[in-house]
Amino acid sequence: MTDLETKLKAEAKRLLDEHLVDVFIGFRKENAPLHPQPAFFTQSDQLDDFVYNNLCQNNLAKFLTRYPRETRIGMIVRGCENRSVNHLIVERQHPRENIVLIGVPCTGIYDWRKITQRCGEEISSVEITSEKILVTTPKSKFEFEPKELLHVSCARCSQPNPINADLVIGDPVEAKDPARAKRQVETFSGMASKARYEWFTHEAERCIRCYACREACPMCYCAECFVDHGAPRWTESMVSKAGMQTWHIIRAFHQTGRCVDCGACERACPMDIRMTYLTEKLNTDMEIEYQFVCGMDDKTQPPFAAFTMDDKTRFVA
């Protein structure tokens, strides 16, 4: 168990023992070493299989909306999760005074797909240190640099440190170059419109409509999603071209000014479909036009909610 893990566990134990929180959301060890699972600890004796490492791939802010507003929630937050929590507070999904945020400066999430591509599906153990990752399979051993396993969203992360956590454990991480964050969307916008449409079609047509992206996204908390709505039926729910394209366009559009670019949707997708090139474009638009970056504090309303009469100069007739 690493030093960071021990400190986090002690902190979770303290919160639960002193009854400062009703539930502590963290990660739990699983039989599959690449997939630590989100866990909901209500008593300190459940903390035995507590785990925290760079393979914890879920955005825990997703689970904030699953509890009643009165529940006091303790939670581990990295930079992106902290932003998600902030935005959920802006959208009044949970009062800030009922949340205890334990911040962890994040060194990036390792993409489990990259590990299985290089080492095969069968993995017996993974050992992570700050310099290298040791992967053991039944037949051989592999060694990787952290850089080569980073998930694409984490490789261009602009906010690895928690913003307004109640307690930060660990040393702050150096933020990466902000220009790098924009590179993907700039490259995509640079292509001809026909190539962009082909790219989009190629990504959308692989979709199997499992909605794992929706289930992984902290901002998708609607009681009934527009694709599940029966009367009126907004869009085809079957695996048809029109239905799949609608799902990808509207799912991204519903994240306008709300997406923190954590990449949880891409990591959850079983078909390895890229989605952040859509949400990032909308984020860039919101930043340029309304100077809004999602989740940097827990007060500012997103652009779609914050329209005023000052907008009237923007109407182009």
């Binding site: 449409y197 609608t246 991204a252 909308l282 779609f304």
Partner: protein
């Protein structure tokens, strides 16, 4: 309907045409290649409506609403402008020409403007030709079935 005539869907806020003659023209005398969807306010226009029209074979979508100060619901059009322009930008990002979605914000004295705007839009769309992008369904009046 000949191949040269582009299909246009007009989303119209029911309050935006102040002259009765204009409203009557839009409701009763639209050319055959144009389709009217009358809404209670531009704020009611869900981006899904626009996408649905495009997927069903519309070559262009025109959205006509009121000027900021004169919205019947005070600020419906302010929200609509933010949402729909962001949506236009997203569609442009995935390869759908942004000029195929056009906004017209009507003022009190703009009698007879909608006819002119539609004529200009039709001319521009004819020059651009068929869209082809994002058209994935048959139109509603042919059953609206998927590919």
């Amino acid at each position: 309907m000949s191949a040269q005539e582009p299909n246009i869907v007009l989303f119209q806020c029911q309050w935006c045409l102040y002259a009765k003659t204009d409203q009557d023209w839009v409701e009763n005398a639209l050319p055959e290649n144009m389709h009217l969807v009358k809404t209670s306010c531009t704020g009611r226009i869900n981006p899904l409506f626009v996408l649905n029209a495009i997927q069903g074979g519309a070559d262009g979508v025109m959205i006509s609403g009121c000027k900021p100060e004169v919205c019947h619901f005070k600020e419906g059009n302010l929200g609509a402008r933010r949402q729909l322009t962001a949506f236009q930008s997203l569609l442009n990002h995935i390869g759908y020409d942004r000029s195929r979605i056009r906004f017209v914000w009507m003022d009190l004295q703009d009698t007879g403007r909608i006819q002119k705007e539609l004529a200009v839009f039709e001319k521009d769309l004819t020059e651009m030709g068929m869209s082809g992008v994002l058209v994935t369904r048959k139109p509603g009046f042919e059953g609206g079935m998927h590919d």
